[in-house]
């Protein structure tokens, strides 16, 4: 009989063996199984630039504050259209090099927003550049650090072809004729961020269900009233305010104002709804407006359009869900089926 109280060798050996066995069963073996995934069929491979961008993401420790996982619970619907699946990480979670392991992208802290779908929410490089140069320039309440060391301030004479110039307001720069350009690392990082989109599941595969938020007694809580339109101002601050700003005034040289805009104040809502659904890139002095047909439902678009048309001093008549539905058919017929 082993006497642990007197036999140091068997005490240490038993502690070691049991721990190794348990660790193998609960960690190493499942990990080994989990690392074999196939990529989703419509998932693009990562480009070299995106890979280098991922390395910048790791090196700056972005995962300290940003998660990349859409959990299968109701509250995570904000961050993606379906819960994350292991295949989502097929390309991104590979060992980086001999010194660095597979990056811990899933994260454990959401001090900042989840980034699973950031490329869908913010597809424009310009927004990301401005935001990384000074987050509080585009998102007032943000507490994200500035990443000035990934930009360079140069004389406009020294701007070479192919340099990405960031439209920073002149009063922020050290004198007239100065320009801010993004370093290669910054361009890679932005390329990586824009690439972050949930790939569609193969046809015929049902995405996992979002579990409703339970109440204390285990019953599901119904969060929204089905008949009422969603809250337009909440959608605005979630989706639109990052560029058009909370006060609707936009940012000169980057994002156009909605306050007093002729399109917004047009009695006919068709042009505005068309732009919201399909996006807009007709003016050189402003960034690209991404279409929201895939992001928002008809009801959400109606709510946010009505909010914008009646806020910031705008006084245009409200529109209805049916109007949005009709325009969606012409602008983005492929998304109309899902509605």
């Amino acid at each position: 009989m082993i006497n642990f109280h007197k036999d140091h060798a068997s005490l240490v050996n038993v502690a070691l063996v049991v721990f190794v066995v348990l660790s193998t069963g609960i960690a190493v073996a499942p990990a080994n199984r989990m690392q074999h995934t196939d990529p989703l069929p419509d998932m693009p491979k990562m480009t070299d630039a995106q890979r280098r961008g991922l390395a910048v993401y790791v090196s700056e420790g972005c995962m300290a504050c940003h998660t990349q996982q859409v959990r299968n619970i109701e509250m995570d619907k904000t961050w993606g259209s379906r819960p994350s699946v292991p295949s989502d990480y097929h390309y991104s979670k590979e060992r980086l090099n001999i010194w660095q392991q597979s990056p811990s992208l899933l994260g454990s802290e959401r001090t900042g927003p989840d980034l699973t779908n950031i490329g869908q929410r913010q597809p424009g490089a310009q927004w990301h550049l401005l935001h990384l140069y000074d987050p509080r320039m585009v998102v007032k309440g943000s507490i994200m650090p500035r990443y000035g060391w990934l930009f360079e301030e140069v004389d406009s004479a020294n701007v070479k072809a192919g340099d990405v110039v960031v439209p920073i307001p002149a009063d922020r720069l050290g004198g007239a004729g100065r320009k801010v350009i993004a370093t290669p690392e910054m361009n890679d990082l932005v390329a990586y961020l824009i690439s972050l989109k949930q790939a569609p599941l193969p046809t015929g595969v049902e995405p996992g269900k979002f579990l409703p938020s339970p109440n204390a007694d285990g019953k599901a809580v119904k969060m929204t009233d089905a008949d009422a339109l969603p809250d337009g101002s909440a959608i605005f601050s979630q989706v639109c305010a990052a560029c058009h700003q909370a006060d609707g005034k936009g940012l000169a040289g980057a994002f156009p104002p909605l306050a007093g805009s002729t399109i917004v104040n047009d009695k006919d809502p068709t042009p505005m709804i068309t732009i919201v659904l399909g996006g807009y890139d007709a003016r050189a002095d402003y960034g690209v407006m991404p279409g929201q047909a895939e992001n928002l439902t008809d009801a959400q678009i109606t709510a946010v359009v009505n909010h914008v048309r009646s806020s910031f001093g705008n006084e245009a008549p409200a529109t209805t869900e049916d109007v949005v539905k009709g325009i969606r058919f012409t602008v983005s017929p492929e998304t109309a089926l899902g509605q």
């Binding site: 109280h5 005490l11 995570d76 899933l106 650090p145 938020s213 339970p214 109440n215």
Partner: protein, 610 residues
């Protein structure tokens, strides 16, 4: 009622109140939630209620300590009078005349009694033939607070052992000050994000510097240093090989220095918490651990008594487990894709549970009974806690990834065994509290025991709270919020760091013969304790508010803005904690300086000559 109006109830409240008292904050939210029908359940759910109850436990203990102190002061200032019970008239009337005159006589004598003024003194000279008096003074050192008992015993320690213990503890103290300075700076960045724009000081790079420094620099070195003393003392022998102890000291310190420089330069292993050092750096640390283990094991092997004291079970096992853990954490072959995520959950949980917690428990089993000068309450409970610690703790890593794409069965196993953790936690804390039982008055008279008490209470509170936090239900509200940060400070600071301080104050004066200023130890204790309380409660309240707002669908940026007030209080709590560390560093310096010279006993009794 629609969700927006619930937020309306919730948010104005938090904005207005900010922080009068988080207790009221929690109460008032629960009151206004009660008016709604949908979310009132959140605050009455078992996990949330349990956590609030645990917080009350901490408050209660603080109140106990304070009221014990107040009681002593009141008693000292109030003369206790024994009330003579007057003899009732009926009894007097029945008395015989002789009896009556006897009573009268006694009463008269009593009424005429006067103090002569020299009851306690004598005219003869005083001698202390048996050297019972170690110290005599007519002036208390500090007129403001109770004086504590001085540590009378001096342990005869081999100079090499004394030196190695002090150097491990000294390095640990430096890392504590540095690591928490970094932490304090990071806490301020939540309130003032534009403090600097230097790449080496940016939040993402500096955060792991804070965590790794306090883990591998402070707590690990302090534990090993204290462990050297335990292992030699309880084996009744000398350390096997001092050279290896020094080699391990260099390896561990080197790994923290290089690792931190790498992190600040933007070189990390992939961002997984607590394994941010790249493998060559962690290899240095692991080599340090292996050397330490071999040294400890060889020392236990040559012990002069047949039994292995339970402390050494914990200490040896934690070293073995951590060496395995580091190996599993860094080997690459199963870590692509979500394999890495499983290992991450396993690694970060075991890092805390198998290394810091297990080792620290081993230290408590020696230092607590020796500080109380009595045996541990139950040796068997200690053994039970040891095996259950190994069985349950190992299986619960995935509870950091509840609702993630990791397999559902792994999440369930993790949650079930998180509840199982109640067994070792209750066994351990019962054991420690029962050991303290009957010695409560000693706590008020000692500057060491309050640290033990807080550490043990937080062991129960922090660990149980962690189990409750693992529930799927509580994960809805708390996961990803600042609540996690509160939990890790409750455990790594409330348990580990407080116990380290307790052990350091218990042992260093005994081996160097120098005691710290009691005023400063008291200042250290109260600043750290109040700071920690402010820190954790503000983040718990802020995290709960944030999680509920996320569930209600409040825009993300609004929840960031609304947490600002809580972050401010966190920074204030953190400042108190940091100041306490500076005081501790000074105390450590006064305890350990020029310790190689045999110290003069601080207060020799002055011989009284007739």
């Amino acid at each position: 009622m629609n969700p927006r109006s619930i937020i309306g109830h919730f948010y104005p409240n938090t904005k207005r109140l900010r922080w009068p008292l988080t207790g009221t904050m929690l109460l008032s939210t629960s009151m206004c939630m009660a008016q709604t029908t949908k979310t009132d359940g959140w605050l009455t759910s078992p996990g949330v209620l349990g956590t609030m109850l645990l917080l009350v436990v901490v408050m209660f203990v603080a109140m106990l300590i304070i009221s014990a102190k107040v009681d002593r002061i009141l008693k000292a200032s109030k003369l206790r009078r024994a009330h003579a019970v007057p003899i009732p008239d009926e009894v007097l009337m029945d008395m015989a005349p002789e009896q009556l005159s006897e009573v009268q006589h006694r009463r008269r004598t009593a009424l005429l009694f006067k103090l002569s003024g020299n009851e306690l003194g004598g005219i003869g000279p005083a001698f202390d033939d048996r050297a019972l008096i170690t110290r005599s003074t007519s002036e208390p050192e500090n007129p403001l607070v109770d004086e504590k008992i001085y540590s009378g015993t001096r342990l005869d320690t081999p100079p090499e052992l004394r030196k190695i213990v002090l150097w491990y503890l000294g390095a640990a103290t430096c890392w504590l000050v540095f690591g928490t300075l970094v932490g304090q700076y990071l806490g301020m960045k939540f309130v003032w994000p534009d403090l600097d724009e230097v790449s080496w000081l940016s939040f993402g790079r500096l955060r792991p510097v804070h965590t790794n420094t306090v883990f591998w620099g402070w707590a690990s070195l302090a534990m090993i240093g204290l462990g050297y003393f335990v292992i030699a003392r309880t084996s009744n022998t000398v350390i096997h090989n001092y050279k290896n102890a020094w080699r391990a000291w260099w390896l561990i310190n080197l790994s923290v220095v290089i690792g931190n420089l790498c992190l600040m330069a933007g070189i990390n292993n992939g961002g997984g918490e607590y394994r941010e050092y790249i493998w060559p750096v962690s290899l240095l640390f692991a080599l340090g651990l292996i050397l330490t283990f071999r040294n400890f094991y060889a020392t236990v092997k040559r012990r002069k008594i047949p039994e292995i004291y339970v402390s050494n079970w914990y200490i040896l096992a934690s070293l073995v487990w951590t060496i395995v853990l580091a190996t599993i954490g860094y080997l690459p072959w199963y870590q692509n894709g979500l394999g890495e995520t499983i290992i991450q959950g396993y690694y970060m949980h075991q890092g805390v549970g198998m290394w810091f917690m297990t080792f620290t428990l081993g230290l408590i089993y020696y230092y607590l009974p020796s500080a109380l000068n009595k045996p541990i309450y139950s040796y068997s409970l200690g053994v039970l806690a040891f095996w259950t610690q190994m069985l349950f703790y190992t299986l619960i890593g995935t509870h950091h990834f509840v609702f993630s794409p990791l397999p559902w069965w792994m999440q369930t196993v993790a949650i079930v065994f998180s509840v199982g953790m109640f067994i070792p936690v209750i066994a351990g804390s019962t054991n420690f509290l029962m050991t303290m039982r009957g010695s409560w008055s000693a706590i008020g008279r000692s500057y060491v025991l309050p640290f033990f008490l807080v550490g043990v209470i937080y062991y129960f509170v922090g660990s149980s709270q962690g189990s409750l936090q693992a529930f799927r239900f509580t994960n809805h509200v708390w996961h990803f919020t600042d609540f996690n940060v509160a939990h890790s400070h409750m455990t790594m600071y409330g348990i580990i760091t407080f116990i380290m301080w307790a052990c350091i104050y218990a042992i260093v004066p005994k081996i160097t013969g120098r005691e710290p200023s009691q005023m400063l130890v008291g200042a250290h204790f109260w600043l750290a304790f109040i700071g920690l309380f402010a820190y954790t409660v503000s983040l718990m309240a802020g995290g709960t508010a944030k999680g509920m707002a996320w569930i209600e669908g409040v825009p993300f940026i609004e929840t960031v803005v609304n947490t600002r007030g809580y972050w401010t209080w966190r920074a204030i709590g953190g400042t108190l904690m940091f100041i306490s560390h500076l005081i501790f560093a000074w105390n450590f310096y006064t305890m350990s300086r020029s310790s190689t010279a045999t110290p003069e006993p601080a207060h020799l009794p002055t011989p009284v000559t007739p």
